[in-house]
C-alpha cells in the first residue's frame, strides 16, 4: 500500500522554484483582493412582543477567474459548479418554517423585506442562457439543488409548479423562473447541507450558536441562500460571485428567567443573553473569516422611548446611549462594552436606529463571548409598519367554487402614507401584486372586483398595469401580475377573484389528499417605498456585509398567507369498485341471457305437470315438519312447487324494475 515516489518532475523543478517564493503569503494578513473571502456576522434585535430576532449572515465571495468552478479555497465547490454549469446569474433559495409577523416584528425594514419568506421552500433563479434554454436549465437546477439540500425541490421541475413573472416580482428580470413549495417541511436535514457550505461549518465562530433544538424551537425560522454577481472593477471586466447565506430566527428568551422578572414588573421586557437564547456561547472566531462581528440593533421606536425616558429622568445626558463608553443606562444594561456605536442617519425623522458593534475576536479573547441584555425599565414600542397591511383569504364554501380575496388596510405608518400625504389628494400608492395559482384552481379573471373603502370601483380606475397568463390544465399555472394605484387616503382596499375547483386525475393527488391544496402566497411589493438605512460612515459597507445589505435600496416586499383549498377527494378504491360492479352486472346479464336462449318452455311445462302429481322432496320435508309441529296432516300445496321454477325470471324482472326506478329517481332528482 505505501509507496515510494518516482523522480518524475526533475526537469520542472528548476523552472518552478524561480518564481514560487514570490507568491507566498504574508503571514497574518487576510486574503488579498481578488481572492476568495468569507465573513460572518450576527445581528440581534429585541422585538416589541418580548421576542428576540437573531439574524446570521455569512458571505463568501469568489472572483470569476478561469479556474472558477474547478479550484476553490473557501468558496464551496459544489455551489460554484452549479453556477458554472447552469449559468446562474442570480438565485435565491429559502427554507422557512413559521410565518413572519409583519405587525409586531416589523415590515418596513431591511430584514423583513429581504429575509421574511413564505413558509416552505421558495426558489427563484435568473439564468444567463438563451430564452429557449431557460426551462431546461431550471429543471436541471431544481434536481441538483434537491440533492444538495435533501429537500423535494425537484417537484418544482414540473411546468405546473413554476412561473416566469415578467415584471412584478423583480424589475427587469431577464430570464427569471420562480417557484414555491408551501408544504415542504424544514428541519435539520436541510440545515446540515447548508452549514456544509460554510468553510468553518458549525465548528467555530458565530455558527457555533446554531444549536438545533433552540433554533427549531423558535417562532420563525428562515434559512436562505442567495447567489448574486457583483462587478469588482469599474470597467466590468472583473466580476465576482457572492454567496450569501442567512439564517433568520425569532426566539423567545428563556421563560424561566422571564417569569422571575415578571413577578416584580409585569410589563418589563424579558432579559436575554446568547446563552439563554441558544444554549451556547461563542468561544472563538472562525479563523477563516475576514471579519466576525456581532451587532445589536435597537429600532427607532426603542430609541425614541429611551430618549423620552432619559429626558424625563434628567439623570444622564441625551447622548448617553450613543456613547461608546457607556456600560449602563436607565433602560438597559449590556454585559459587554460595544466596540463601536453606529447611528443610522435618517433624513426624514429625528429618531433613528442604533447599532452596537462587537468584534467577536476581541470579546472572545478572555473567555467565551456571551452578550447579555438586561432591561431595567419597562419600555413599550412598535416596529415600523408596512404602508398597507395585506392579507389574503378564501370566500365561499363547497367543493365546486370559491373566491380569493386580497385585502389591504392602511397602517398609517410613520414613513408611509403620512409622508406621502403631504403631496396632496393626487398622491397614489403603487402596489405590485404577483400571484401564482395552480391550474386546478381555475380563476376567472373577468370576475375581478375591486373595493376601495368598502365601495366597489371600476377595475380600470385602480389597476394601472396588468398581465395575466391563464392556467392551462396540467401544463402551466395561472399567473397574475398587476400594479394597483391606490389613493393615499385609502383606509382599506380589496379585490376578489372567483374560481372553480378543478378535478385532478387519480394519480395526481398527493398522499394525504384530504388535507387540501396550498395556494402559494401572493408577493406584494411597494415599488415606491424603499427600505435603506444610511450610516454616517462611508467605509462601513466595505467592512460589514450586513450593513452593506441594509444600505441597498430594496423595495418593500411582503408575502401573504398560504391558502389551503379543499378539493373534492375521490375514493381511491373507486376504480376497483366500478370494475367489480360493472363486471358483475354484465356477468348477470350475460348468464341470464344465455339461460333464456336455451330454455325449453314446452318441455318445462310438461315436466311440471308430471311433477305436480307428487310433491317435491323439499315440500314433502316441509309438510312433514309442519305436520309434526302442528300435529296434523297437511296436504302439500302445489303452488309452492310451481313458483320455484319461475322464481328466477320474476326475480330478475323485479330487480331490473327496481334498478330502473332508482336510476330514474336519481336522474330526475338532479
Amino acid at each position: 500500500m505505501v509507496l515510494r515516489s518516482r523522480p518524475i518532475f526533475s526537469l520542472l523543478l528548476l523552472f518552478l522554484s524561480s518564481y514560487g517564493f514570490s507568491t507566498a503569503f504574508a503571514s497574518g494578513s487576510a486574503i488579498e483582493g481578488g481572492e476568495e473571502d468569507f465573513s460572518e456576522e450576527l445581528l440581534l434585535k429585541p422585538l416589541p412582543d418580548r421576542k428576540v430576532l437573531a439574524h446570521f449572515h455569512f458571505e463568501t465571495r469568489a472572483p470569476r477567474t478561469p479556474s472558477y468552478g474547478r479550484h476553490h479555497h473557501l468558496f464551496p465547490k459544489a455551489i460554484a459548479q452549479l453556477v458554472k454549469k447552469f449559468h446562474i446569474q442570480e438565485m435565491e433559495l429559502s427554507f422557512t418554517q413559521g410565518r413572519w409577523n409583519y405587525e409586531s416584528w416589523g415590515g418596513f425594514e431591511p430584514i423583513a423585506s429581504s429575509n421574511a419568506k413564505p413558509p416552505g421552500v421558495e426558489l427563484w433563479a435568473v439564468f444567463d442562457v438563451p430564452p429557449d434554454d431557460v426551462d431546461a436549465s431550471w429543471k436541471n437546477l431544481t434536481h441538483s439543488i434537491s440533492g444538495l439540500f435533501c429537500a423535494s425541490i425537484n417537484f418544482l421541475e414540473s411546468s405546473t409548479a413554476y412561473a416566469a413573472p415578467k415584471w412584478s416580482f423583480r424589475p427587469d428580470p431577464g430570464s427569471l423562473r420562480y417557484g414555491t413549495l408551501p408544504r415542504e417541511a424544514v428541519c435539520t436535514e436541510n440545515l446540515t447541507p447548508w452549514l456544509k457550505l460554510l468553510p468553518c461549518r458549525d465548528k467555530a465562530g458565530i455558527s457555533l450558536l446554531m444549536d438545533r433544538p433552540s433554533i427549531y424551537r423558535g417562532f420563525y425560522h428562515s434559512q436562505r441562500l442567495r447567489l448574486r454577481s457583483a462587478k469588482t472593477s469599474s470597467d466590468g471586466t472583473h466580476s465576482s460571485i457572492i454567496l450569501e447565506q442567512t439564517l433568520t430566527v425569532v426566539l423567545h428568551p428563556d421563560s424561566q428567567k422571564m417569569s422571575t422578572v415578571n413577578s416584580r414588573e409585569p410589563t418589563l421586557q424579558p432579559s436575554w443573553s446568547m446563552s439563554s437564547l441558544f444554549g451556547k456561547k461563542i468561544s472563538g472566531t472562525c479563523v477563516l473569516a475576514k471579519s466576525s462581528t456581532v451587532y445589536l440593533q435597537l429600532d427607532w421606536g426603542v430609541v425614541r422611548e429611551l430618549k423620552n425616558l432619559e429626558n424625563g429622568n434628567q439623570v444622564l445626558g441625551v447622548a448617553s446611549i450613543m456613547e461608546e463608553s457607556f456600560v449602563s443606562n436607565p433602560a438597559f444594561v449590556l454585559s459587554d462594552k460595544p466596540d463601536k456605536v453606529i447611528r443610522e442617519v435618517d433624513s426624514r425623522s429625528e429618531e433613528s436606529a442604533i447599532l452596537y458593534e462587537f468584534s467577536v475576536r476581541k470579546h472572545s479573547d478572555l473567555g467565551p463571548f456571551d452578550l447579555g441584555f438586561t432591561w431595567k425599565t419597562p419600555v413599550v414600542w412598535s416596529c415600523p409598519q408596512l404602508p398597507l397591511r395585506v392579507s389574503r383569504f378564501l370566500m365561499g364554501s363547497g367543493n365546486e367554487r370559491g373566491a380569493i380575496a386580497i385585502s389591504f388596510r392602511s397602517a398609517r405608518a410613520r414613513e408611509g402614507l403620512t409622508h406621502a400625504k403631504s403631496m396632496g389628494e393626487s398622491c397614489k400608492v403603487d402596489v405590485n401584486v404577483f400571484q401564482v395559482v395552480p391550474w386546478y384552481i381555475k380563476v376567472y379573471f373577468h370576475t375581478m372586483k375591486v373595493f376601495v373603502d368598502g365601495k366597489p370601483l371600476a377595475v380600470s380606475d385602480i389597476i394601472e398595469k396588468i398581465h395575466v397568463s391563464p392556467s392551462e390544465d396540467k401544463v402551466s399555472p395561472g399567473v397574475l401580475e398587476m400594479i394597483l394605484k391606490l389613493p393615499c387616503t385609502v383606509d382599506s382596499a380589496a379585490f376578489t377573484l372567483e374560481f372553480d375547483k378543478g378535478f385532478l386525475h387519480i394519480d395526481e393527488y398527493p398522499p394525504d389528499a384530504n388535507q387540501g391544496f396550498d395556494i402559494p402566497p401572493a408577493v406584494i411589493t411597494f415599488p415606491t417605498f424603499h427600505v435603506n438605512m444610511h450610516f454616517g460612515e462611508d467605509n462601513l459597507s466595505k467592512k460589514s456585509a450586513v450593513l452593506s445589505r441594509f444600505q441597498e435600496n430594496i423595495p418593500v416586499r411582503s408575502y401573504t398567507e398560504v391558502l389551503l383549498v379543499p378539493l373534492t377527494t375521490p375514493d381511491f378504491s373507486m376504480p376497483y369498485n366500478v370494475i367489480t360492479i360493472t363486471c358483475t352486472v354484465f356477468a348477470l346479464y350475460f348468464g341470464s341471457l344465455l339461460n333464456v336462449l336455451r330454455r325449453r318452455v314446452n318441455e318445462e311445462e310438461r315436466f311440471l305437470k308430471s311433477k305436480g302429481k307428487r310433491p317435491s322432496a323439499l315440500s314433502r320435508l316441509l309438510s312433514k315438519l309442519s305436520a309434526k309441529l302442528g300435529g296434523k296432516r297437511v296436504v302439500a300445496s302445489q303452488s309452492s312447487a310451481r313458483s320455484s321454477s319461475f322464481i328466477s325470471l320474476k326475480l330478475i324482472l323485479k330487480i331490473i324494475l327496481v334498478a330502473g326506478i332508482a336510476i330514474a329517481w336519481q336522474y330526475f332528482s338532479e
Binding site: 509507496l3 518524475i8 518532475f9 514560487g20 468553510p199 479563523v287 475576536r361 356477468a587 315436466f607 321454477s645
Partner: protein
Amino acid sequence: MAEITESPESSPDPPETKSEQREEFDPETMRRTKPGVKRLVLTFSVLISFVIGFPFLWKSVEIYRAPLLFDDIDLLSKRMESEPLRFPCNFRAVFVGFDFGSADFDRADDLQSSISNRMDKFVSGTSPCGTCSSNYSVSVTMESNSRCIQSQSGRHSCSYQCGAISSIDFRGDDESVDDSLERVLGGECSGLAGKVYTVVIVNKDAEDKAIIGKYRHAWIVGRVQEEEAVEKIAEIFVKVFSNGGKEEGLIHGEFMPVGADGRIVLSFNLLNSDPQDWIYDWDFNMIEEHMLSPVVDTLGPVANITVESQVLYYTPKSSYAYWDEELKSFILNTGDLPFFVNSNEWHLDTSTAAGGRSKVLQLVLYIPSAKECPLNLQLPNGEISKANGYISPMWGGVVVWNPMNCFQDPEKYPAWHKISPQDLQKIFEVFVAQIRQLVGLKSDNLFIGTSVRSIMLASEKGFTEWELDALTRQHTCFNLWSCATTLSSLSRLVQSLPRMIIMDEIGKQVKLSMEAAKQAESDASHGIYAAAAVSARQSRALAEDAFFHPSIMSVSYYSFEHCFAVYSPFFLPVSLHVVLAALREWKRYRQEKKKYLTWKARVDASS
C-alpha cells in the same frame, strides 16, 4: 334448469296407467322425434367464440417488449469468458555485436524459435485479459559490422537502416541512448498489426545493465551469452511489454477507475485538520498547469480526465495515532489506515460538474493539527513510509504532509501559509505515483524478474509509451468485459420479469452496444489500439445506458395479479355460465339421442 334435464330414473314409480295403455312407447326412455340441435349449436358457438376471443384479449393486455438479442448477448458473454481479447504484438530482438559468419542465415531463425519457446514458458497458465500473450510474432535481427541478417518473419517489415544501432554510443547516459534508439527504431512499420516492441542486446565489454526506455524499446548492455540473452529478452517481452510490468495481484483490470462514460474526475482536496493551529493553502492553478496537465494529456487515450480542487477545514482524521519516542513523531500503523478517512467530517463531495457516471477519484492532502504533528505512516516492517501516503483502490489516495514548524508553539491567531512549490512538487510526485498505482501500474522504477533486473526510465509525462499501450489494451479489455457482464445481467433481468415494459430505445441501445463490442473485437484483433479503445468505451457506455434506462428503473410493471383482479369479476361468472350450459346441452343431447335411438330400434324391431 336442473329439473328439466333431470334424468328419468329420479322418479321411482312411473305412472302405471300410461304403461298399461301404450306398452311399446315409454316417454321416459324413448322419443319419437330426432332431438334438435338448435340450442346445442347456440351454446357451443358462444363457448367457441369465447375460446377464440381469448387469445385476442391476451394479446390486448400484453405489454410491449422490444426484442432484445438474448442469444447474441449470451454468445458475447461466453466469448468474453472463454477467450479473452487477443491483441497482436510484434516483438523484435536486435543482437548487436554477436559473431556470425556469412553462411549463418539460419541462426536468426534459430534464435527466433528459442525466444518464442522461452516466452511460451513465461506465458504458461491463464493469461489475464489485455495482454498480447498467445498472439504475437517475434523477429530477430543480427547486426554486426554493417551486415545484417534477419529471421524469416521480420524480413519484409520494419526495416531500419542496418548498422544504425551499432553506431549508437551505449556508454552515454540512459536518456540520450533512449532518444537515439527511438530515432532509429521509432520509424513506421508497414504491414504489421499492433505495436512493435524491441529489445536490443549489445554484446560488448561494459557494465552489465538492462534498461527499459520511455518508448517501446529496451536495451541490454554487457558481455552476455546468447542463451542468457534469449532468457532475458523473453522475460522483458512477456513481463514488461506485454503485461505492463505489473506485479501480480496488485490491482486487477476489473478495478480500472474509469467511469462508464469514460471519464475520471481527479478531485484534489487539501484538508486542514485544525485551522486553529495553522492554515495552509496551495496555488493549484500553477500545479495544474505545470504538473498535472502533461499527465492528463498523456492519459487521454485511456480516459477523459478533469481536475478539480478544494480546500477544506476542520477535518480531523478518525483514527488514533500514538506518539513514538524513538521516531519523535506520531505513528499510524497500516492497520489503522482503513479508519483514517473521516467520512463524517471530510466533505469530499462528488462533483456536480461531472455528472453522469464519471468516476471521481479523491486525492487528499492531509495536514495534521499541532497536537498530532508530525504524523507518519509506518510500513508493516516498522519503517516510516517515505511517501507518507497510501491508496485505496477505486476511491483514491491520501498523502500526509507535515508542516515544517511542528514543534513551534502555535500562535494565538493562526497564520495563512502557502505550501512552497518545492514541497508541492514532492507531494504531487507522490500523487502522480498514486494515480499510476490506481490505474494499475508499478510506482517504482525497478523491474526485478527471475533472470533480469532492469531499470525503467521514467517519462516526464508520468506514463511511458509502452505503459500506455498496456493500459489501453487492458482498458479495452475491461470495457468489453464490463459491457458483456452488463448486457448479460440485463438479459437475465428482462427474462426473469416477463411483464416488464421494455422500450424501443433500450432495444436500440443494446443493439448499438453489441455492434460497438463487435467492432472493438475486430479492431483489437487487427491491432488498431485507438479504435478498439474507443469502440469498447462506447459499447460499455451504451450497455450501461440501457441497463440504467429510467424506464427500467421507474416503471412498475403491470403485474399479473393486477390483471387477474381486473378481469376476473367478469370472466369468472360468465365462463362458469357458458361452460356449464355447454356441458348440460351436450349431456342432454346425448341422452335424447339415446332415447330416439331406442325408440327407433323398437320401431324397427316391431315392424
